[in-house]
Structures are given as C-alpha cells and as structure tokens.
C-alpha cells in the first residue's frame, strides 16, 4: 500500500498540476507577458492596469473553477464507478446532471409557456445556480428514495438513467415551445463554461466543494470494501444502506453545484478515474481518490487552455473539448487494455 512508486507519481502529477495552472493563467485571448503575470501573482503591479484586472478578476477565478470542476467531477465519477461496480458509471448516469439541466431549462425556457411570470424576475448570475441546484436535488431525492426501496445497485443505475431521459424529454418539450433567444441562452449554458464567475460566486462554489470533498474521507473504508461486493462489505462491518446514501449524497452535492456554476461538463467524470487507475495501477481508494482529483484538475486546466485557442479571439465551448478528447481516450483505453475495470 505504501508503494514508493506512488510517491513518485504524485510528485510528477503535482508538478504537472502547477505547470498547467500557470499555463492556464498565462494563456488567453489577450497576450500578457510572463513577467507581468508573475508580478500579479505575487501581488505586485503589472505594467498595464488592464492586464492586472484580466489576471485577477478573470483568469485566476477561471483557473480555480477549472481545478474545482475537474477534480469534483472526476471524484464523483470514481465514487459512482465503485458504488455501481460499473466502469461506465459517471456523474451523468444518476440523472443528476440532467436534473440540473432541467432546473435551468425551467428557468430559461418556461417563460413563453407560463407568460411573463418568470421572465419578469430578472435572470441574474444567482438564479441559474439556484435553479440548477434545485433540479439536481430533486432528481437526487427521487433516486435516493428509489434506492432505499430497491436493494440491487444495478437497478438504481437504471433508475438513474431513466430519470435522466425523463428530464431530457421535458427539456425537449420546453425547448420546442420556447423562443429563439431563450433557446440560445439555454444552449450556451449547456455548452459549459468555466469563466464568468465572480469572486463572490467562487466563494459559494468553494464552500460546497470543500464540504463535499471533506466528506469523502468518511467513506474511504466502505469504498474499499465495496470492491469485494456488497455481501463481503457487509461481513466486514459496513452498513451498506448508510454508506450508499452518503456516497449518493456526496456525488449529487458535488455534481449539482458544479453543474450549477459551470454547466453540464461531459466525459471528465467517466474518463479521469480510468486514467488514474492506469497511471497508478491500483484500486485502493486511499491512493486513487487524491490521484483522481489531481488528474481531473490537470485535465480540465489543459482542456480550458485548448478551448481558449490562445492568442485568438475565439473561445470554444469547454464541453466540446472534453468530449473531443474524452471519447478517444476511453476508446483507446478499451482497445489497449481489452477491458475496463473498476
């Protein structure tokens, strides 16, 4: 367990993490010289005041968002894969992301259905996250309720998928009846975005994220014994139902708050745990959890750099980048290893 090669791997990943964080801050549509970025990072003045504002109020919040989104989604994916003992599980399968989308869809699209009631209440930065969290929480409550009356974890997986397609169907109906401008607004949200968060929003995001991540320490033991299956886990003294509910709760908290602030971001949650297993060659969660979080943060920081199309004025949707890179990685893993394991 205290394999010395793990230390080396963590060292490499930490260096990679710092480099990609720095890269993420230094590249963008506006070219800022490296010495100015370093100056701003160490609290000194840059040679142009606008550069200072760009770095402090846009790029650093965006990089921190990328770290939280990447690590949070990846860890959620790992929890789902262990709980359902299914290598294709991820935060999306429980329908939590769809639930968040449904909340946002109701907020943005239902105006034309129900008249001016919602449209009149101004859509601010705050209403989106609240709507998304409510949607995620609603679907999660339904899934947990179902989970407690169904004993088989595979059935919960299917129930989650069903809730997901149910939510998608409602979103489709809403989209059909809504106007072009609102549809566009919803579409842009669903592309995913790491930017646009103010320091205040980042603080709220950070609090939820920290609560979720800290709670994971309490379930390292159940997660490890679940690798043997539920019956063995029970015989090792684990309370299956309770552990399962905690895992579901943490996942939905993390996924819900991330989707709320940055939109539904695909593939990170599914692909990163596999990268971590490949890199460390272990299933032990004590190693795998920090590894997954670290790799997730790095992956999203790099994806964001690519999405920026450095030095150009254009920004690609982050969701397009994660899928463009995520899908081939999963295919490559499958071909190379012949099979994916949990």
């Amino acid at each position: 367990m205290n394999n010395p090669s793990y230390k080396k791997n963590f060292l490499i990943l930490s260096v990679l993490g710092i480099v990609s964080f720095f890269l993420n801050i230094s590249l963008g549509s506006v070219m800022i010289p490296i010495q100015d970025i370093i100056a701003v990072l160490f609290g000194k003045n840059a040679s142009k005041e606008s550069w200072e504002i760009i770095v402090l109020n846009f790029r650093i919040p965006k990089a921190i968002t990328a770290v939280m989104v990447g690590s949070g989604l990846s860890v959620s994916g790992l929890l789902m894969q262990t709980l359902f003992r299914n290598p294709l599980a991820g935060p999306f399968v429980l329908g939590i992301s769809s639930g968040a989308s449904l909340g946002v869809a109701f907020l943005l699209l239902s105006a034309s259905l129900f008249g001016g009631f919602l449209a009149s209440s101004a859509i601010t930065h705050w209403t989106l996250p609240i709507a998304a969290s409510l949607g995620a929480f609603l679907v999660l409550s339904a899934v947990i309720f179902a989970a407690n009356s169904v004993r088989n974890t595979m059935s919960i997986l299917i129930i989650g998928l069903m809730f997901g397609s149910f939510a998608s169907a409602i979103i489709n109906v809403l989209s059909y009846f809504s106007e072009a401008t609102q549809l566009q607004q919803f579409l842009f949200w669903s592309f995913g975005s790491l930017g646009n968060l103010s320091w205040n929003e980042l603080l709220v995001f950070g609090i939820f994220y920290t609560v979720g991540m800290c709670a994971i320490f309490s379930i390292i033991k159940p997660l490890n014994s679940l690798l043997l299956g539920e019956n063995y886990a029970k015989s090792l003294g684990i309370q299956i139902q309770k552990s399962r509910n905690i895992i579901l709760l943490i996942t939905s908290l993390l996924t819900g708050v991330i989707t709320a602030f940055s939109g539904p971001i695909a593939f990170v949650g599914l692909a990163v745990p596999h990268l971590a297993r490949l890199f460390f060659g272990t299933s032990n969660h004590k190693t795998l959890l920090p590894a997954t979080a670290l790799i997730g943060a790095i992956v999203l920081l790099i994806c964001d750099v690519i999405a920026q199309l450095p030095t150009s004025e254009y920004t690609l949707p982050i969701n397009a980048i994660t899928s463009l890179f995520g899908a081939p990685i999963v295919i490559w893993l499958l071909i190379r290893k012949k099979k994916l394991v949990v």
Partner: protein, 259 residues
C-alpha cells in the same frame, strides 16, 4: 452448552417477499462446538448456501433464531459481527486491480481506523494468514492473475486475517481439481488444529468430509442431522443424502458406489 460457538433454535430459512414466502428448509436445530471442523453436506438446491447466508446474517431467517457465542444474531451490529464471523462466499469478486496483499488487508477493516491505516498488529495478522495458507509468494500479484485454487486460498487468508473465532466457507472447493481440493481441506484442518478456530464449510466432497470432519451436518428434504462421521455412518444417514436410484452408500468402503 458453554462450548457452543453457534447454535440455532427452530430455524426456518428461505426467501420472503411482501406476499409470498418460499421456505427452503425448516425446523433446523443444531449446534457447533468451539474448535471443530464441521462440513455441511446436501444435494444441489437443498439450501446449503441459504443456510450459510442466514447464519452469517447476509439474509434474514423466516422463523426461529441463530445464536453466535450464546448471543442472538439479531442483536449484533454489522461491526461487532465482523469480529466474530468471517466469510468465504461463492460469488465471484467484481473486477478490480486489488493485489493479493490489499485483498487480504481488507479483512482487517473491522480493526483499522477511519482511513484504513494498517497498524503493526494488522501487518502481522496479514503475514500470518499468508503463511498459514502458503501464498506469500503471490503477495504482489493482482488477484485476477491467480488460478482458482490460489484464489480460494487468498480468500481463506482474507477470512483468517479478519481474526474471527468462526469462519464460514460456502463451497470452497467448487471448480477445483482433486489435488487442490485436498489442499484446501488440509489447510482448513490445519487451521482448526493450530489456531483453534471453528470452521464451517459446505461441500459436495462426501469422501473428504468423512475423512476430515469432526462433525458433519446432513441436510435432506425433511430432516437435518448432525454427528461425527462415524455416528452418521452407523445410523445409515448417508443413504438419505441422494435419491437412491443410481448410487448407494457402502458402509465398509465409507463411500458412495454406483449400483
């Protein structure tokens, strides 16, 4: 009675849903003495696994109760039971990249702290378990690389590392050839002799059961008999084990022969 590690009172086992109850076997009364090697015999589908699952609290009894160390099974928490009974099940392990050492180390979970740190006692237990089952050389292998026989000994080591007075194994010799079957029986017998643990297994190896067991529990359609192998032979109990069209039990050979 003081020496009982496990006994049942009017136990009925089976499966219950909201409306129907499927009784697999009822009125099971037996007890197991500390430090014995007990085998559970019965034909396929008679309910051996159901009984073992009920005894280990994986499923609930329909009626009656199970007592472990004179204490009702119902009154144990999962955690306190984990220090009294350890299991080797027939179900295949979900795929993962656990190594042999990590798999056995999971047996220490009832004793480790909240982040599963292994203490020196834990490491010693794991090493002992590997030594007794002769699998030290496999320590760093992934479990999916092992043969069925090796894997079975790893499972036994995991149960041993859990350090419980009672170990229950469901058909530990299924899928194994004669050599490896014999090896498992010898390992289990050695454990009972050297560690004074109590071991209960279900098996189809009647001959080996007669040779190795301190006691045999026989499950038939309507009855449940326990006794030393010789007692059961003398009472012609083995004739009831299988329908007698094709085979019969030969008392002098102490084994089943074809008719």
């Amino acid at each position: 009675m003081k020496n009982n590690i496990l006994h049942t009172e009017n136990l009925s086992i089976g499966y219950a849903s909201k409306k129907t109850q499927t009784v697999v076997s009822e009125n099971i009364n037996f007890n197991i003495q500390k430090g014995t090697f007990v085998t559970l015999l019965g034909k396929n589908g008679i309910g051996k696994s159901t009984l073992l699952r009920t005894l280990s609290n994986i499923q609930q009894p329909l009626k009656g109760s199970v007592f472990i160390q004179q204490k009702a099974l119902k009154s144990y928490t999962n955690k306190s039971l984990a220090t009294c009974v350890s299991l080797v099940l027939t179900e295949p392990l979900p795929e993962s990249q656990l190594t042999v050492f990590e798999l056995i180390a999971l047996g220490r979970q009832p004793y480790t702290n909240w982040v599963d740190t292994l203490s020196e006692t834990d490491i010693t237990s794991i090493d002992n378990a590997m030594q007794l089952t002769e699998i030290q050389h496999l320590k760093h292998n992934h479990f999916y690389e092992l043969s069925d026989g090796q894997l079975q000994r790893v499972f036994i080591a995991r149960a041993l590392a859990q350090d419980t007075p009672l170990i229950i194994l469901d058909e530990p010799t299924a899928h194994l050839d004669l050599h490896h079957t014999l090896k498992i029986f010898k390992v289990l017998k050695k454990l009972v002799a050297e560690t004074s643990k109590t071991i209960l297994i279900s098996t189809h190896e009647v001959n080996l059961a007669i040779k190795f067991s301190d006691e045999i529990a026989l499950m038939t359609e309507n009855e449940f008999h326990t006794g030393t192998p010789q007692q059961l032979i003398n009472k012609s109990m083995f004739d009831k084990l299988f329908p007698d069209e094709m085979i019969r039990f030969d008392k002098t050979l102490q084994q089943f022969v074809m008719k």
